[in-house]
Subunit: 412 residues, 2 copies
């Protein structure tokens, strides 16, 4: 079984929008062992939609269309596919009732145009949408190929795919098994990760290994095949184990967790609390930590002190220290860590100060210079970093290093 | 003249890599007045490549293939296109000489496999690559359609397109001129924007209008054609003007600025300073504000107070108020705004408190309930919002509403 993905929407043919849903679907299909052999982006044009689906159905047993299921005249996916497959569209009263209920729950009345979203081609199954109005559609062609139409918004598409489509696809997926492992690495540049682990993964063709680098993080993706899932998983885990030995505790997870989630788990396990005082990262560390549901259990809060005055006022950094050592200095990072810890009553206090650029550099402190400090009741540890890249990349790497400092502290 | 883009490479069909070159090319072609009607991603497979090019040539007068021009067996674009068009491939000695020179200049010897990159289909023009080895190829079919093959690395593709392809495309491009305007809207849902402006933009075919919605923001893209650039621009601006009248000050820019940049510009112009106290947005407002270079001129800092204790300690929210009214209340938002303003000495103080979910809801305060308050020396203004979606979307919309509250304050 091979699949194709057709991303639909005139906006996806402008310089401003990119289809990213296909990455998610490719991942999901790959886990089932169904390769994606082609992806197409096409505008909301009935004839072009018809020919895109017709061509894809000649090559693939599963064709997934994304988007173009909205209520307006622009949205033509339903009509195009129905016409191509020679099916009549009929309004489904159960869908209408559900949509009306959805609007009612929000105290609004459903507009007449939304009824278009309740049109279902003859012989098609419709898939409920718990996060939006447009239902998905599952059609089987005369030669047993599947056309699957999904709504474009990711928060509608993903749950619909997982709840409604996976159970239908699994029995059709190939019988050999796949397993994937991802190791996430912090605190090492890609070149060094590569150098350390290339001898390990180059020696084996299965699992396939791919390295993906982003600012402050390297991901190692392993994809193994086997006679059954246990066999595939065993192969992936064997290599993951050897890679982790080569990289030590720079591997912060073998699972899907982000670094901030891992830090949160450690804080929770240790029953510790945290407060942060950030300058150059401007709230990014707090934002990442609090983006994790349940973070209120361990994250007490933070201070974003851009100005000298606030560093003194909110965290109690001595004005003389700021004058003598400069805002960007290990001493100020340490004073931020100690100060925010004391004022918040947290077990751990983190301080970050640096130069994110493009301005603010001095001869001895170039753009990208960042000091990070972590304080507990007994110890104070601080680090100096020099990050490269633009403002965004520097801030992200600094947040990454700050989170990693907390992680390593809690590891011990 | 219409164009299609075919991005080539098996790695572009994995969950980890996305073709982004097509955004650049779409922008360049749009400026020439050449619309991109379809985009395809296909692996390095000769038969699939042939059918992708064959299909595209039936629809478009210009077909641009990106990638698959490397030296290895995996790279099959040249062969596939030559075979499709019935052209023989011949080794071009000038290309070989240039490639050898390139290797020599770096003190290396060219590998034998690189000679494959010097293969040129009969009747094709080759385009020099000043930033890599693979030359581009320009082929004209019997019915005067153009196939253009470009190397995949962006730093090779972009200069080649601008230096070699633009001069060849310009005489073939339509003789009318194009102009684009983007209006960005905050504080109105997409449906209401649509309702207010549909009568305006539906009445005219030129400019073409596209609405793009993201959490808390709607973008209106206008694309006008005219007899010359001034004419096209005038048409775009006329409609932009009428749309802005219909939407009032919900339009926060007609330019490329983000909302946080616009807020920064207003603060700068008014000589005002700002400090923020956030609960549910967890630093997102501060992070967005400080992501703008130069924000240290007007952003003094902020407090992320997740716990009750920190709300009291860092911002001075009275403990009795927290007990009586609850953390998520207009009174606490106002106390946060006043408190952070007073403690920081800023002209404006912003307070945000709410329930981002998934937990924390109460019967009268469902997930998504957010209170935002803004204080200056004389006034205190607060708003209640109810946002829908997951934690991420709620936080983003809350930050958007908070930034907009500041913007509207400064507008007056």
């Amino acid at each position: 079984m091979k699949a194709e993905i057709i991303a639909i929407g005139t906006e996806l043919l402008t310089p401003f929008r990119l289809d990213t849903n296909s990455l998610y679907l490719t991942d999901q299909l790959e886990r089932l062992g169904i390769p994606v052999i082609q992806k197409t982006v096409v505008g909301d044009d009935r004839e072009r939609l018809k020919s895109a689906f017709a061509e894809a159905l000649q090559r693939a047993e599963l064709v997934i269309g994304i988007g173009g299921l909205g209520p307006t005249e622009d949205d033509r996916t339903r009509e195009a596919v129905a016409e191509l497959l020679g099916r009549k569209l009929r309004q489904n009263e159960e869908i209408v009732a559900r949509m009306e209920e959805r609007f009612r729950a929000r105290g609004r009345k459903m507009a007449e145009v939304n009824r278009r979203q309740a049109m279902v081609p003859e012989g098609a199954d419709w898939l409920p949408n718990h996060n939006g109005t447009a239902p998905g559609l599952w059609l089987t062609t005369e030669d047993e190929r599947v056309v699957l139409l999904l709504p474009g918004p990711p928060h509608e598409l993903k749950p619909m795919f997982e709840e409604e489509c996976l159970p239908r696809l699994r029995p059709r997926a190939p019988q050999h098994a796949f397993a994937r492992k991802v190791l996430k690495v912090v605190g090492l540049p890609e070149s060094e990760v590569e150098e350390r682990i290339a001898p390990l993964y180059c020696a084996v063709a299965n699992p396939e290994t791919t390295l993906l680098a982003s600012p402050g993080q390297v991901e190692i993706h392993l994809r193994a095949t086997g006679s059954d899932t246990a066999d595939a998983l065993r192969r992936a885990e064997e290599l993951a184990e050897r890679i982790e030995q080569a990289l030590g505790d720079h591997v912060f997870t073998r699972g899907p967790e982000t670094l901030e989630q891992v830090v949160g788990l450690y804080l929770m396990m240790r029953g510790a609390t945290l407060a942060v005082a950030e300058s150059c990262t401007g709230g990014l560390v707090a934002e990442r930590l609090t983006n994790v549901p349940g973070s209120s259990h361990y994250f007490l809060g933070g201070v974003v002190c851009y100005s000298d005055k606030l560093k003194a006022k909110l965290v109690g950094v001595p004005a003389t220290l700021l004058r003598r050592k400069g805002e960007v200095s290990p001493e100020v990072a340490e004073a931020l860590a100690k100060g925010v810890r004391r004022r918040s009553g947290a077990v751990l206090g983190l301080g970050v100060t640096g130069i994110a650029g493009p301005t603010g550099a001095t001869p001895d402190k170039p753009v990208g210079t960042v000091f990070i400090a972590l304080a507990d009741a007994h110890r104070l540890r601080s680090e100096k970093h020099r990050f490269l890249g633009d403002r965004d990349r520097i801030r992200w790497q600094a947040a990454q290093a700050a989170l990693d400092l907390i992680r390593r502290k809690l590891l011990k």
